[in-house]
Symmetry: C2
Subunit: 345 residues, 2 copies
């Protein structure tokens, strides 16, 4: 392998016996518009292949003020694997448009956030996806006003920035619907209560649940408050059951809570779904690991990421408003099937 000086467009042009201008037009798909002959085009393309020419994006970016690059700024990339599914979806959507993702993780530190935004702006990213791990209301840093931005999993009431979020309200309805369809009419409880005041998910899910049950003339018998963790849910539900509670249907506000609930039910000799039907939220892998697999209303993280990027690249970007993506239900075996009924007619 020789110390090959990097091949430039001029090298290609020289080799093909044309000007750099012509070569540039050809490589940018403007040969028809510029009436380049087929013969010339062939020669240029051959030269590209022979020399192994690769355009220098820095040069192009300098001239065109675009980088085919999207900045993703989020509070946490790692936590859960939720954020990374977002990344996967975003990455795929970006690649569909020949863009790459530049990521920055703020770890929730506003100072770091400001710094990263500056770095992204300096790097001339074409747009920014501002994502939060937990669905929340935020106030985006003013620096983002300098680039087109889409919010992911959050909204900023003080701006008109487009935002992409899961339809938590609809998700709540879906979860309740699963119990309704199973014929459960009483002994319905919700486990978990929103632990952080800024997070909207819990509030909306609960609202959706109430709305759906209300349509059937039903209601929640109570909410068992607990942090959104396995251990926290276990402790709360264990104590609750020890107090004599005998629920028929439990809606857990996320899958980790469901796992704690499973543990507590087992501890008290209660079987899912024979004694208690369980529905959950998140649709994470964990839901499929439980025995029996828990029916879970899925957060469509990959879709959210992909949609955010699509909105970002859409010409009508500015007027998109808030997009809410449906939360599909992932059926497990944790809801007791409806008892056989007398056929209707």
């Amino acid at each position: 392998m020789s110390v090959t000086r990097t091949v430039t467009l001029s090298d290609v042009a020289e080799r093909a016996g044309v000007s750099a201008t012509t070569a540039s037009y050809i490589l940018n798909g403007r040969s028809v518009e510029m009436r380049i002959s087929a013969d010339t085009e062939t020669r240029v393309r051959a030269a590209v292949a022979e020399l192994g020419y690769r355009p220098n994006r820095s040069a192009r970016s300098l001239r065109t003020a675009t980088t085919s690059t999207i900045g993703v700024i989020s509070d946490f990339v790692a936590s859960g694997h939720f954020a990374s599914q977002m990344l996967t979806g975003a990455s795929a959507a970006a690649r569909a448009d020949a863009h790459l993702l530049v990521i920055g993780e703020t770890e929730g530190d506003p100072g770091v956030e400001a710094l990263l935004i500056e770095e992204l702006l300096e790097r001339q990213v074409d747009g920014i996806v501002y994502a939060t791990l937990v669905t929340a209301e935020v106030t985006v840093p003013p620096a983002l006003g300098r680039r087109r931005t889409v919010l992911l999993n959050c909204v900023d009431p003080s701006t008109v920035l487009p935002a992409v979020l899961p339809d938590e309200l609809g998700g709540g309805r879906t979860a309740a619907g699963a119990l309704v369809r199973a014929g459960l009419r009483s002994g319905l409880h919700v486990v978990g209560e929103d632990p952080t005041p800024n997070a909207l998910a819990g509030v909306l899910r609960l609202q959706g649940i109430r709305a759906r049950l209300g349509e059937e003339g039903l209601g929640i018998d109570g909410v068992v408050p607990c942090p959104w963790t396995v251990a926290g849910a276990y402790a709360a539900v264990d104590a609750w059951l020890a107090d004599g509670a005998r629920p028929q249907g439990l809606i857990c506000l996320n899958d980790r809570i469901a796992m704690g609930v499973y543990q507590a039910l087992a501890e008290h000799g209660l079987e899912v779904p024979r004694d208690v039907s369980v529905v959950s939220f998140d649709g994470s892998e964990l839901a499929t690991w439980l025995r029996p697999e828990v029916t879970s209303v899925t957060l469509p993280y990959a879709d959210l990421g992909a949609e955010a990027v699509r909105v970002l690249m859409d010409p009508g970007w500015a007027t998109t408003g808030v997009v809410r993506l449906p939360m599909p239900i992932s059926a497990g075996a944790s809801v007791r099937p409806r008892p056989a009924e007398v056929p209707a007619s």
Copy 2:
């Protein structure tokens, strides 16, 4: 907010009443070397602040052929949250050196991989981290020869590229050591066998386990083969226990297997750690969700990511060789404490 034309270095220079050259020297920390007066420096910095000047990285990159950007190419970003922890570690290490991460996910497709590598090279990334989800032997695409590269979680026997991996062998020893320290001397089994022939982790872990037990004159009573999944482990161990097996200590080759094992043990009325001690690998969140929390030998994903980036930026990069990071043990309550002994002296 006005339609502010972007501020360039010349604008700053003009405002400060100096040449762009001078301003450039000052902003690049060469004012002493270039004997710029303190007064001039002050004026330039003031101008920067007043105008809100931000350098244009594209221009700088074009000139310097560096981008303060590191490319991360991996087969899967999403799967598990392992890869994303790597990203977090890598991101933090990169930021410590004022670099950002550009990510590309190949989804295991060699075509996509080749494409992404070209994209990264075009974008003039300063270096590339080539990561795999599963520890494996790989053959890196030749295009990577054009940029400094570090392998993460994999090795390429055909090259001398630096590689960063977990010390699986040591991890195996640690896992076995936990059982040894508890005084277990028989009825020791390993659950899970490497499902993919290219993955090294299982082989090395098993090797480490055997070595450590051998030192005590002990051995494995058997391996229960199963896929590395919750359901697969449950099925295998359930059948095995139904056959009358009564192990004393189980080493699960990852946390998902441990979860399946817990389920199977519970099914057969066996309690952890009273009846069976369990040790696992991964140190994922799942390990802490099980009851009792399972003792797990941790894959230091964040460290791996950070170390890979550090190696990449190290001047001695080329001669680094293979770096193996220790796998610390995360103690749960799944190993039966050693029975009280007669004091030794």
